[in-house]
């Protein structure tokens, strides 16, 4: 790297100073951009988000269906034939009807669910709700967990005891009972919290509930890491230098806890995507007929024996999103890792 300036300079001619090395953030950015799988993952996520945002376009112009109205008695035109959406089963007792399966055409591409609605269109609409709720819940959870975990691990003593017991209570609390109770309370009028009235279909409710449920899950590992870090040399050094504690937390502890946060983030999103379906089952958050990937999976659970695609399609969507996020997270972690950079440069 060092140019062989001595040979060119001769005697006392000023040597141009080497270019200032890029700052840590720019370095991280460049590392990330060079990571091909991470960029591919980012691309997949962006495509998915755009597709979900274009859901009304798909439903209206491509598939020409209304994904929110029950359409059990209706029919569609396929290859010139009129096909009932609910097909009577062919058996001697004429028992039961099945929704049509994947048609491969623009209308009902992935088939219909038990209410006769287009699964593909609902998948796109559902993506909006699911991605929004799970992303917000994961971010909120990480924020709260990082605060709680770092505080408990770093300060120790009474703060640690109180926070740890609070986490115990939060983890042992029967969330489902609270959710049932909340769903009943918000039936006619919403939940009144001071000047705010929160309706049952407010997406903040599932976001907050899911975030709070997983705070202990994320906070305890963070607390564990911080407990170990507290005795690291650079922290001791900083303390001896008289660096205020908040600076230590922000600039020494937090970067080292980043790994855990970056790994837990996508995992929390996956858990949130599934937890959200349990809540919408109880009429909290996403209200039928609005869709979310979790609610579509639930509809599909009653159709496993006849129309498995209804549950498999949103499941696949969740897998793709979670996979992409994890790869992106890996890339981010690689780009931001302080120690790794040192190793790379040496």
């Amino acid at each position: 790297m060092t140019a062989d300036c001595s040979s060119a300079s001769g005697t006392g001619v000023p040597v141009p100073a080497p270019a200032r090395p890029a700052g840590p953030w720019r370095k991280a950015g460049r590392t990330l951009l060079r990571n091909r799988s991470a960029m591919a993952a980012l691309g997949v996520l962006v495509c998915m988000t755009i597709a979900c945002l274009l859901a009304p376009l798909y439903a209206h112009d491509v598939a020409r269906v209304d994904p929110f109205t029950s359409n059990v008695a209706g029919s569609i035109m396929l290859d010139g034939h009129e096909v009932d959406i609910m097909q009577p089963n062919d058996n001697p007792l004429h028992l039961g009807l099945s929704p049509i399966g994947p048609t491969g055409h623009a209308a009902y591409l992935l088939g219909a669910d038990s209410q006769g609605r287009d699964v593909a269109a609902r998948l796109l609409y559902g993506g909006r709700n699911s991605l929004l709720i799970s992303a917000c819940a994961a971010v909120l959870c990480l924020l709260l967990a990082a605060t709680a975990g770092i505080a408990a691990g770093f300060f120790g003593g009474l703060v640690d005891t109180v926070l740890s017991r609070l986490m115990d209570i939060m983890w042992a609390v029967p969330v489902y009972l609270f959710a049932i109770s909340l769903s009943i309370v918000t039936v006619s009028q919403g939940l009144k919290l001071g000047p705010f009235v929160i309706e049952a279909d407010n997406l903040l409710i599932p976001i907050v509930i899911i975030a709070l449920v997983y705070v202990p899950y994320a906070a305890r590992p963070i607390r564990g890491r911080v407990l170990a870090l507290r005795q690291a040399e650079f922290v001791t050094a900083a303390r001896c230098l008289g660096v205020p504690r908040w600076r230590i937390v922000l600039f020494d502890i937090l970067p080292n806890v980043m790994t855990t946060l970056v790994v837990l983030g996508p995992l929390l999103m996956a858990l949130a995507l599934l937890a959200e379906s349990a809540l919408s089952f109880l009429s909290i958050g996403v209200q039928a007929p609005a869709a979310s990937w979790g609610t579509i999976i639930q509809d599909g659970e009653g159709l496993i024996y006849t129309r498995p695609m209804v549950a498999v399609a949103p499941g696949l969507a969740i897998v793709i999103v979670v996979l992409a996020l994890n790869i992106l997270g890996d890339g981010l972690r690689d780009a931001l890792d302080v120690r790794d950079a040192a190793r790379r440069s040496s």
């Binding site: 609910m86 089963n89 028992l95 039928a288």
Partner: protein, 579 residues
């Protein structure tokens, strides 16, 4: 798994037979000492019926609840206890045209109402014993009726409050005497009921499971997990509410009336709790169980109908789904709005949600098919009106509906449908929501767990506009359904128990109901006509939106034969032959 259970039961049986004579000797001495009843000896074993024997394996998802026959109100428990307990009268244990009126069971003959329905005389049969060896006497009958009040049976008020002394018993159950209400004479074995006001369904009430006759010594509190002795062909020997229930033959049973309480075929009956309906279907297909309590899930209907058609049991039930419209809250305090919803709802879609026309029929009136006095009529379909009802439901009439909504001036109002969480209710609720949106309302659906939804929608404090719910009749009776659901007396404001969810009270229709009820004592056909007229009059006022009446679709194992289905008792489990 079946093998293991079988061997365990076999061991029990062996132990029982070894100690039987000793047991009987002890018991006879005890009984002699206690109440001077003649010496009890085990009934001589009658020749076993052909095809009898074996263990009948049943499966249900939910737990059994309490086993006390005077308190238990779950359909599963009632089906299980049909061959365990007896009432004074009973519904015939065969299906067919003659199977509707009640017949004599523990008594010799069906009584005729005397003094305008205020007195009923019955004579108790001789020679019937409980499963603990004790002989049935008139004192047991009187004690059982007192116990109905002491134990707080749910139907103590609705069904047995006409008995003289019942009011005092309801007010102070612990010291219930029913003096003047139930008179017994041990020498003639006669039981006389005195009523303070005529009860048109009194015979049916005597056949109702909560009037089961138990030994007089049965404690006067909910027996919970320990079933009291009964007179039927089986007795319950083991019970863990979340795991299993076991029944064995009652050694003291001798068939006294084949049509009222026939002897059973299986030697043991074992009911296992906890499997999901999907798993139940698979288990029966794999020959692990003989009968499942729940309906076959919708996505298995095709499989079951094509590969196991011979094992499917499809039968009519007095069970239907409807949406109760609150007549005290907007928008459904307007008659036109209620009629509009009745016109607009697509009952064919509702049929599809339950598995198609083979399983469900659209219901357009408040009395289900199979109920006495049911006369098929539909006022709210294309081309019909309350003044000129059609015979059957044809198609929804959205134009009339929208016109009525406009005329009522309620268009655009917010409507909340409160529905249970169960899958089929969810589909029906969604359909209802779409319908309301199509005729001009801003509708939403709120679901909650079923056990809470049912009391929730009854309580006027919750201001529920539309309640999606179902009704299964206790016994076939027009009055039992219409009076319970739409009479002014069924309105209890601020209470979780107010079955008239519509809060519908019309004095003219109330008079019609009383007239129809009074006719039942003297002229049954005329009473039926009168109740049918009440049905039509109620539908003209549209306090509810009847949706569908469904049939039970259940799967039996390949080896189960002799399936007898009655309207009141569903499948007679004791009559299933498995060998």
């Amino acid at each position: 798994m079946g093998k293991e259970y079988g061997s365990r039961l076999g061991a029990h049986g062996r132990i029982r037979r070894v100690g039987k004579t000793t047991l009987c000797a002890i018991m006879s001495i005890m009984l002699l000492a206690s109440n001077g009843v003649d010496v009890a000896s085990a009934a001589p074993a009658s020749a076993p019926l052909p095809h009898s024997g074996g263990t009948l394996r049943l499966t249900a998802q939910s737990s059994g609840g309490t086993l006390d026959p005077q308190v238990a109100y779950m359909s599963l428990t009632r089906q299980i206890e049909t061959p365990v307990y007896d009432t004074l009268l009973a519904y015939p244990k065969f299906s067919g045209p003659g199977a509707l009126p009640v017949i004599a069971n523990l008594v010799e003959q069906v009584p005729t109402p005397e003094e305008g329905g205020l007195t009923y005389r019955l004579t108790l049969r001789k020679g019937i014993r409980f499963s603990n060896g004790q002989a049935l006497g008139v004192e047991d009958v009187a004690a059982s009726f007192r116990r109905v009040f002491k134990v707080g049976s749910p139907t103590a008020g609705p069904y047995y409050s006409h008995i003289v002394g019942a009011d005092a018993c309801l007010k102070d159950p612990a010291h219930c005497t029913l003096t003047g209400g139930v008179e017994t004479d041990a020498t003639t074995r006669s039981v006389v009921f005195h009523l303070s006001t005529p009860d048109p369904d009194f015979l049916e009430h005597l056949a109702w499971g909560h009037a089961a006759i138990l030994p007089a010594s049965t404690p006067a509190h909910d027996m919970g997990n320990s079933a009291p002795p009964g007179t039927g062909p089986y007795r319950i020997t083991a019970y863990d509410p979340t795991q299993y229930l076991e029944m064995e033959r009652n050694p003291y049973f001798q068939e006294w009336a084949h049509e009222a309480q026939p002897a059973g075929y299986p030697d043991h009956i074992r009911l296992t709790f906890g499997l999901e309906p999907e798993s139940e279907v698979t288990a029966i297909e794999n020959n692990q169980y003989d009968w499942m309590y729940e309906d076959v899930p919708l996505d298995r209907l095709g499989e079951v109908g094509s590969h196991y058609a011979a094992q499917v049991q499809l039968y009519t039930l007095l069970l239907y789904y409807y949406a109760a419209l609150n007549t005290t809250l907007p928008p459904f305090n307007s008659l036109k709005a209620r009629q509009a919803l009745n016109y607009a709802v697509n009952r064919h879609a509702m049929v599809i949600y339950h598995g198609g026309p083979a399983v469900a029929v659209p219901l357009c009136q408040l009395l289900p098919e199979g109920a006495p006095a049911h006369q098929s009529s539909c006022a709210y379909t294309k081309g019909a009106s309350p003044e000129h009802p059609a015979a059957r439901w044809q198609a929804p009439d959205l134009e009339t509906a929208r016109r009525l909504v406009r005329e009522s001036g309620t268009a655009g109002q917010k409507v909340t449908i409160v529905a249970p969480l169960d899958g089929r209710y969810g589909s029906m609720a969604m359909e209802l929501r779409s319908t309301l949106a199509a005729i001009g309302y801003d509708a939403v659906v709120r679901s909650m767990t079923q056990t809470v939804q049912f009391p929730y929608v009854q309580n006027s404090d919750n201001h529920v506009q539309v309640a999606l719910t179902g009704w299964q009749a206790d016994y076939p009776s027009a009055g039992g359904i219409l009076h319970t659901l739409y009479s002014c007396e069924s309105i209890h404001p601020h209470s979780d128990n107010s079955l008239n969810m519509s809060a519908f009270c019309d004095p003219a229709i109330e008079d019609q109901m009383q007239h129809a009820a009074a006719l039942a004592l003297t002229d049954k056909p005329a009473s039926a006509q009168a109740w049918a007229a009440v049905d039509r009059a109620l539908m003209a006022q549209a306090p509810a939106v009847p949706l569908v009446q469904i049939k039970r679709v259940t799967l039996l194992s390949k080896r189960a034969r002799n399936v007898i289905v009655t309207l009141n008792d569903e499948i007679l489990l004791s009559q299933l032959q498995i060998q």
